[in-house]
């Protein structure tokens, strides 16, 4: 039996809560939003429908450009300026929808090259790449 060969019990690591099945993380009442999301989707103009429409259109235009920039960044070397004067470069892979984490490859750290890594956006001050 497999169970008899396991001498040490393995501690259960509690992972951060992922998005629940139905929400995309933007619903202010979703557990993910409350746990992680800065409420940048805060709207001041909910009372006026026309004004809200205008705001939503603005939001769409801004978001689309940002998402396209992330697409353009895929596979390119990107240099990240982190807090505490840390500067690293890596090949950009992907971002999650609420821009909380970046997945990168070939991360050049002062200690060596990390093949695959996830960078927390809360640790990053800025990033740049050439187009």
């Amino acid at each position: 039996m497999q169970a008899s060969t396991m001498k040490m019990p393995v501690a259960v690591v509690r992972l951060p809560r992922g998005p629940d099945g139905t929400s995309r993380g933007f619903d202010p009442s979703s557990p993910r939003f409350q746990a992680l999301g800065p409420s940048s989707l805060f709207s001041k103009v909910t009372a006026n429908a026309a004004e809200l429409e205008r705001e939503q259109q603005g939001r769409v235009a801004l978001r689309e450009r940002y998402l396209r920039s992330l697409l353009a960044m895929v596979g390119r070397p990107v240099s990240f300026t982190m807090y505490e004067k840390v500067s690293v470069t890596a090949l950009f892979g992907a971002s999650d929808i609420d821009v909380l984490n970046f997945q990168v490859s070939e991360l050049q750290t002062p200690l060596g090259v990390q093949k695959e890594a996830v960078l927390r956006c809360s640790d990053i001050v800025a990033y740049s790449f050439e187009l």
Partner: protein, 170 residues
């Protein structure tokens, strides 16, 4: 949350196409033309033309932004350049008739696959699938937008198959 993160999309829009100086955490300073401000993370995306004709793109993360100062406004040439930086190039090359032909052909093909599709938009150029997904010109898999990623990947897969089929016929 900082004052910058609390701004509304309409306030962020006033910074787009302006040359700004950004003061970020730990006294980092950035300068460039504002391409966009991500409404989710408040990240500012800046473009900075380089001498070799390339563009340097930098982004300052929303949580690290301390102050944004508007320096100058872009002229029309610069605005055009900024607007097309991340846009697919094919979009500008296709002629009206060609786009119309592509649209009708894709629409017919989707309909033969029992996918409900309608035309919408100001000049009926956008295809709308089941009311939850739009396909903009020039109607490639990457021109699909939907908030439902499952439908998005299905339809993108279908369009991929349709394009592959067309390649075979040529």
């Amino acid at each position: 949350m900082t004052a910058w993160q609390k701004k509304t999309p309409l306030e962020w829009l006033t910074y787009v196409n302006k040359e700004v100086g950004v003061l970020a955490a730990e006294k980092h300073k950035y300068q460039g033309w504002v391409l966009t401000v991500d409404p989710v993370s408040a990240n500012i995306l800046l473009a900075h033309p380089l001498e070799n004709g390339k563009m340097s793109i930098s982004a300052v993360l929303g949580h690290a932004v301390q102050d944004v100062e508007i320096l100058t406004e872009a002229d029309d040439e610069m605005k055009e350049k900024l607007a097309h930086l991340f846009m697919p190039e094919e979009m500008r090359r296709c002629s009206q008739e060609e786009l119309e032909r592509k649209k009708t052909s894709l629409k017919d093909w989707l309909e033969t696959n029992h996918i409900p599709v309608k035309e919408k938009g100001e000049s009926q150029t956008t295809l709308c699938v089941a009311g939850v997904l739009t396909i903009d010109p020039p109607y490639r898999p990457e021109d699909c937008s939907s908030s439902n990623e499952i439908i998005l990947s299905r339809v993108q897969g279908l369009i991929q198959g349709y394009l592959a089929l067309q390649q075979c016929q040529i």
